[in-house]
Every structure is written in C-alpha cells, then in structure tokens.
Symmetry: C2
Subunit: 331 residues, 2 copies
C-alpha cells in the first residue's frame, strides 16, 4: 500500500471531505502535535535525555595512570581484591591540602587504586606531583561540569568527574575489585577498607555527620537492610551518602545501563537504582551498621584572593606566593 492509497483509506474511514473546516483544523493540530511530541521525546532519548542524563557529550580527559605496588606497604597479597577509590575534586584554596591529607591516609591501605577526577578541563600539576610522590597506584582524570548545570538552582557538583571515573573503572577495573566514592574532605577510619574489600554486590554502613540525624545509616533487622535512617528522605529509594557504600566491579559490569544522574541530592539514589539493586541484596558491614568508620566532614571555605606583592619582590614571599598560585590557593 502506497501513501496515496493510505490517504485514500484514511479519507474513507474519517470522512475528511465531509468534515467542517473547524474539525479539520483540530484534527491537523492533533496529528501535527503528536508528530512533534514523538520527534522531540525520541530526540531527547537518543541524545541521552532521561532525567539527569546529559544532552550534550561530556568532555573527558585522561591525564596519567600508574599501576604499581603501594610503596608504603611492606607486603601486598596480589590475590586481595583491589579497592578503586574515586575522589572528585575541583580547584579551590583548600584542594592541595585536602588531597595531601587524604592521599597520605590511602598510602596505609593495601591494594588500593586512587582515581582523582577533577572538575576541570585539565589536570592540575600540583596534583600530578602529589600522586606521583605518594607512591600509590593511581589514575588522574579531568572532566568539567557541562555549563548548563552551573546555572541550576541546586548545582550537581562532582557528577561529571565521578561519571568519568565510573567509565574508567568499567573499562579498566578488575572484576574482583570494589568501587568506593570518597570525597576529598571526608574523614575515614582505615579499618573501613577491610570491611568493604570482599563486597560481592553492594555493601553499606553508616556515615557520620550527615544532616538532621547527624548520621545516615541503613536500618538493619536480622542482618537485612529493611530501610534507611536519614534526615532527608526526598522520595529516594536508597537514602544513603556517597561514602556509605561500595560496589563489586564484576557486579557493576553486569548491569545494562550504569549511570549517575545530574540531579543534586539524587546522585547516590540514581546510581544505585541503575544497578538494579534490591534492599535484600545489600551486604551489611560495620558490625551490623552499629559503628561509624567514615564521616562526612566538610572543610570551611577560604576566599580565593588576588594578593598585591609590590613590596615583596626581593624576599621568599615572591616564590612562596607563586607556589600558592600554582596550588590554586590564590588567584
């Protein structure tokens, strides 16, 4: 059946020629509107426009990587699963201080691979030096937040760079390993790494210093997660903080469409939903979720200043402030 026959058939069924002009206009509007609607939704779907999915391609820059034995650990059992710690960061006066503090802590952990992912177009040289100096296995990435999200009321910080790290882990991570998101200003008791290391699907534990309840934790009955104790439900299925769970890489790779949405406050929930996770699959850690081994500490912000140094050209203050500028401490 050609399109002319199809039109003739439609003419017969709807008796278009007998219709009033008004009815014809309404019908045309309905048909044209439906057509536009279908085109637009399909376009959004094709371009990745599910809630929180980016419409434009994201910029991802791989800077450097080292796969090596942690130089600070005397003996590393190569049968031990690797923990891939993902730390998103961005240029600000506290960046080098935070990453130095956290990176040094990670050198005490066996079989770790630290992925530092900057919200930036390029990798910062002081961070490259730090990663090289610490002697850890590491990967250094950069992925800037798409401009469109900077204009939102609640800005989804740290998503583009976590997504870049997620892609790296999916492509390079060992199946026996574990993925863990740890922010640069968090505080962690290194015993938590022992808790998460043998995760088979997704494991969870409490995170201290969160919101209204001063903690965010799974509610556990008979070693099963039955809900969440968190001051901000916000319609979330998984009311957890980013530092409150780890994911087995083999399990991660088996999922069809792993993602993290660009929706502030719903990054964790969106990510865990994309893993097709059920409450009953969650592995309970930290002594039945009764101990706190990680805290959502936040470091007070310092303004990024421009310093006037006319009177300090002949002393140490000139090279000192040059170093500070490289570290992003001043403009």
């Amino acid at each position: 059946m050609g399109w002319q026959e199809w039109v003739a058939g439609a003419e017969k069924v709807f008796q278009i020629s007998n219709m009033s002009r008004q009815k014809r206009v309404i019908m045309a509007v309905i048909i044209f509107g439906s057509f536009i609607y279908i085109v637009l939704t399909q376009a959004v779907h094709i371009l990745g426009g599910a809630p929180g999915e980016p419409v434009h391609p994201e910029i991802r820059k791989f800077c450097s990587s080292a796969s090596r034995k942690n130089v600070n650990i005397e003996y590393e059992d190569s049968n031990l699963p690797v923990i891939y710690v993902v730390t998103p960061t961005y240029r600000r006066p506290e960046m080098v201080a935070e990453l130095t503090r956290l990176g040094q802590t990670l050198t005490m952990v066996k079989r770790i691979h630290w992925i530092v992912a900057e919200d930036s177009h390029t990798c910062s040289p002081p961070i490259t030096s730090l990663l090289d100096r610490l002697g850890l296995s590491y990967t250094h990435l950069a992925s800037p937040m798409p401009e469109v999200y900077r204009r939102e009321k609640y800005v989804p910080r740290g998503v583009s760079n976590r997504r870049a790290a997620l892609q790296w882990v999916q492509e390079n991570g060992e199946d026996t390993g574990v993925l863990y998101f740890l922010d640069d200003d968090n505080a962690i008791d290194i015993r938590l790494f022992n808790e998460m290391r043998l995760t088979q699907t997704v494991s969870m534990w409490p995170v201290g210093l969160i919101g209204e309840y001063t903690v965010s934790s799974p509610v556990v009955k008979g070693n099963q997660v039955v809900g969440f104790y968190d001051g901000w439900p916000a319609g979330r299925k998984f009311q957890v903080d980013m530092a409150g769970f780890a994911v087995n890489i083999g399990y991660l790779k088996k999922q069809k469409k792993v993602t993290m949405p660009y929706i502030a406050g719903h990054e964790e929930d969106g990510f865990l939903k994309s893993l097709n996770l059920n409450l009953k699959d969650i592995e309970v850690k930290a002594d039945g979720c009764t101990n706190i081994l990680v805290w959502h500490t936040r470091t007070a912000k310092n303004p990024s200043r421009t310093l006037r140094l006319a009177h300090h050209q002949a002393t140490n203050i000139k090279p000192l402030t040059d170093n500070m500028r490289k570290m992003g401490m001043i403009k």
Copy 2:
C-alpha cells in the same frame, strides 16, 4: 627609730598640725590610695596575674601514656630526636573524626610522641581507645579552661590544655627532642616532620589558609628571618600561627619562665616571647620558607543534637546512636 619617732619626724617635715583640714584630707586620701594600690598589684603579681596568666590554679589530669616503638614503622633509629606533637581538642560532634584522621597520619612518622590534651575535666573513652589502637607513643591529658575565660569576648580556646601539655613536655621530654603544636583540624604534609626534626632552638615555616593573605610566613632574606608576612599584625612581635614553628626541648628547658598567655590571638606571640627568642635565632625551614607543608584547615561545625529514638528500639539504630553519644556526636 620607732613608729612614734617616725610620726614625729613626719609631723616636723610636713608641718601637719599647721595644715588646713582640707589639705589633711587630701593627703590622707593620697597615702591610703597608694597603700591600697600597692597591696592590690602585689596580690595580683603573687597570684600569677601577669597579662594572660591564670589567677586560680589550673586543673590538670594525667590520664594515660605509652612510650613505645611506633607499630606502623618497620625500623626506627633510636638516635633520631623524638617529635612531641601537642594536639589540643574538645568534645564536639567532629572530635573523633578529626583525631582519627590526624592520628592515622601520625602513624606514618618515625619517632613521634602524640600528646592529646582535652579541654575537659576527664579524658574521653573513645579517644583513649583510639590512642591505644593506633600503636603510637602517646600521652592523654585533660585540662579544662578556667570558667572565668569562657565569659570573655574573645575566648582563649586551647590554652589550658596546651599549658598542661607544655608542663608534661618540660618534665618528661627528651632534651634532644622537638615540640610541635598541631591542631586536630589542620592538614599536614608529613615531609614537614623531617624539616623540624633537627631544630636546635626554634624553627619556622609558612602555614597556608590563614587570614587576609591566605598564608602566614616569616619574611626571609639571606636565610635570615627579617619580619613576618601575616594579615593580622596586632602588635605582635612574632606574627605566626601555632602550626608554624617547632621548639627544641633542651632549649625550652633552659628558659626561666616558659608560658602561654590566656589571651586570644596572642598565644603564639606570648609563648615565643617567653622563650627569650630573637629573630636572628630562628631556623628557616621549608626551602627558605617558600613551600607550604601545613595548612590551617578548619572543619565546618555540626550542631550537637538530641535525637528521639522511640521507634528504633529493635534495630541497629539504638546501638549506633549509643555509640554516637559516647563519641560526643549527639547529646
């Protein structure tokens, strides 16, 4: 000469009996006033009333101490000078998180003795457990701020407990060792410990993330300290942050009256002045004071809440929040 002869002599000199009643009253007021003034100032001096010195005796409680080889360090050269790190702290939601983070970092440093001094009448059990678990050499003290200072406009926080630690170091520290003050929320690059270890008098370096200039640093010319680059001069001779210097213990013990005043913002200056220090004696570290190896980071405060838990008696949330109460995270 008896007092009667003395009065007669005074009568003769001043011709008191010839004076008008008015003159006699004025003279009596002057003499009595001078007498009261001398008594009061002497009393303040006798009771320790120099500026910033406490009028009442301070409460100091020694809780526990362990002198041992750092269990995390494979080989410790016992000829290496010990670094005595003094960390004042106080009960608040972030306390255990901060001390866990800092304490773990210190386990990476050779020949270190950590003095945790609480602003409190008693030592907190979670801190005792932490110190025992870390495997460091340590001393745990408690010394509450005298009540009178809590009512001041600018409260001199962390003085009573630093003074208690200072006394402990003067009585127990090895002469070859070094004293260093490091707050629980500071961030430190552990290479700084190598810089300070061989200090002979007082050594100094820049501290990042301080005040108007984003740094506080000695100004160095020809490897000599000639002044300070600090946004808050405030009439201080030594414009430095508490984390910006280390002191040789032998040098400390040789000084007559080592003290730290209860004057907010002038603790460092008062302490260094009491060491009879001159600018020319200061040892310049951190590559001529051009590198930043310690930052005055500050952790955002969380409110200390009372949680209602009527609905959570049968799950993990009860023991979890009991633990949080012990850690000082909630009331």
